[in-house]
């Protein structure tokens, strides 16, 4: 059973790291601010979610797992807000910092 959990952890974290990598490449390669935001927020949210999922079996308790989940939710909240604000600046024609 613990072997199956380990396989799950390795697979989920690896997939999450792949999404992080894809998001980072998108951030560097995409042509304009909105596309870069798209790459960053989508990929990072899924990537962090998968890493969180993969770490759940190793969290060592319901409370620790719940904390991981809340961390992911907070990052989702923060990144969606920040990306909206950057997108608003970009749409007004200013250069997003």
């Amino acid at each position: 059973m613990s072997f199956l959990f380990d396989v799950f952890t390795v697979m989920a974290v690896s997939t999450g790291v792949f999404f992080f990598l894809a998001g980072s490449i998108g951030l560097l390669r995409f042509p304009d601010a909105l596309s870069r935001l798209h790459a960053l927020t989508k990929a990072d949210n899924v990537g962090l979610g998968l890493v969180m999922l993969g770490l759940l079996p190793r969290a060592g308790g319901l409370l620790a797992g719940l904390k991981l989940f809340v961390v992911w939710l907070l990052v989702l909240l923060a990144s969606s807000m920040v990306s909206q604000m950057i997108a608003r600046v970009a749409r007004r024609g200013g250069s997003p910092p």
């Binding site: 907070l74 909240l77 923060a78 807000m81 909206q84 604000m85 608003r88 910092p97």
Partner: protein, 319 residues
């Protein structure tokens, strides 16, 4: 080379290159971004060194709160930045700055490299006496018990710093709001975040303060999160910084150090029932680790609560 040392090497290279980029870059905003990224990487480095308390402080204060303040400063400096970038200091001044920086960096490097090995430490002594203080986190014990005066003075210095900031306000603003007001879209996304996040942030801040007694955390990190929540509400324009002349604000500011001092005075007359440690424990910490090794250790099975000191004695006054 093991995986861990390889990761440490990559982390160190990243840290040095981001630090160099922060210094070299000409744009103020880019330098602030570099500084924030540097702080986050530095907190990862502290985690790698098992200094979770320092990592939390670095992430919360060094990177987070200072980053917000620096972003605000960079935004204000934007109008003057174009004029500043055309200026260039004279050759003599630049050489002097380079020499001064090199001397400081060299002195720090010599200091770090000439540390004796093993480094003198009081950590075992602190760990040994943790039960007598009633705390599980050695860092909190050092901050609140062994170095309590330092922490008290720090909290007083923070009040003085705030008075200094207030004093910089223009004369017409004295007694009112200590700076320009924030304007933001009341229906914007920032206002939404400033309504949703603070309840969660307040709980997280209080939790980190509370958990600091036994686990990494404590008042610096918890208070920083609370301050960040208030900053967020102010940046979203939902509320203003309190006016300087509010009595409740001034009472609140003085209450922190006063509470600290009151707890210090209450210590000798504590009715909590915890027996004070023996006198020689405290002289041990004052004299350092040299005497710690010569001090006879309590025998096995003998806990601090059973120490052979008479409970109500005049010696209590020292603690």
């Amino acid at each position: 080379m093991t995986v861990a040392s390889g990761l440490a090497l990559v982390l160190a290279l990243l840290l040095v290159s981001i630090a160099a980029w922060t210094v070299v870059t000409r744009r103020t905003f880019a330098a602030v971004e570099g500084f924030v990224a540097y702080g986050l990487l530095l907190s990862i480095a502290w985690v790698a060194l098992s200094a979770i308390d320092v990592a939390l402080t670095e992430a919360a204060i060094g990177s987070g709160l200072t980053g917000v303040l620096l972003i605000g400063a960079a935004a204000r400096l934007r109008t003057t930045e174009a004029a500043l970038s055309t200026e260039r200091a004279g050759a003599l001044l630049r050489w002097l700055a380079a020499i001064a920086s090199a001397v400081v960096a060299g002195a720090i490097a010599v200091g770090v490299l000439s540390l004796p090995d093993p480094t003198p430490t009081l950590a075992p002594a602190v760990a040994e006496h943790l039960p007598s203080i009633g705390l599980g986190n050695a860092v909190t014990a050092v901050l609140l018990a062994y170095r309590g005066i330092d922490t008290l003075l720090e909290s007083i210095v923070v009040v003085f710093a705030l008075i200094g900031v207030w004093s910089l306000a223009p004369d017409p603003l004295w007694g009112g709001y200590p700076g320009p007001r924030q304007y933001a879209d009341p229906n914007g996304i920032l206002a939404y975040l400033a309504r949703v996040l603070p309840p969660i942030g307040v709980i997280v801040g209080l939790y980190i303060f509370w958990v600091g007694a036994d686990l990494p955390g404590g008042k610096f990190q918890g208070a920083t999160i609370l301050a960040a929540m208030w900053l967020l509400v102010m940046m979203a324009g939902l509320t203003d910084a309190p006016p300087i002349n509010r009595t409740w604000l001034r009472i609140l500011l003085v209450a922190g150090p006063l509470l600290f001092i009151a707890i210090g005075f209450a210590g000798p007359y504590s009715v909590l029932g915890r027996k004070p440690p023996r006198d020689n424990d405290w002289t041990t910490f004052r004299l350092g680790s040299a005497t710690a090794s010569t001090r006879p250790r309590p025998g096995p099975g003998k806990t601090r609560g059973e120490c052979p000191c008479p409970a109500p004695s005049p010696r209590r006054g020292r603690w």
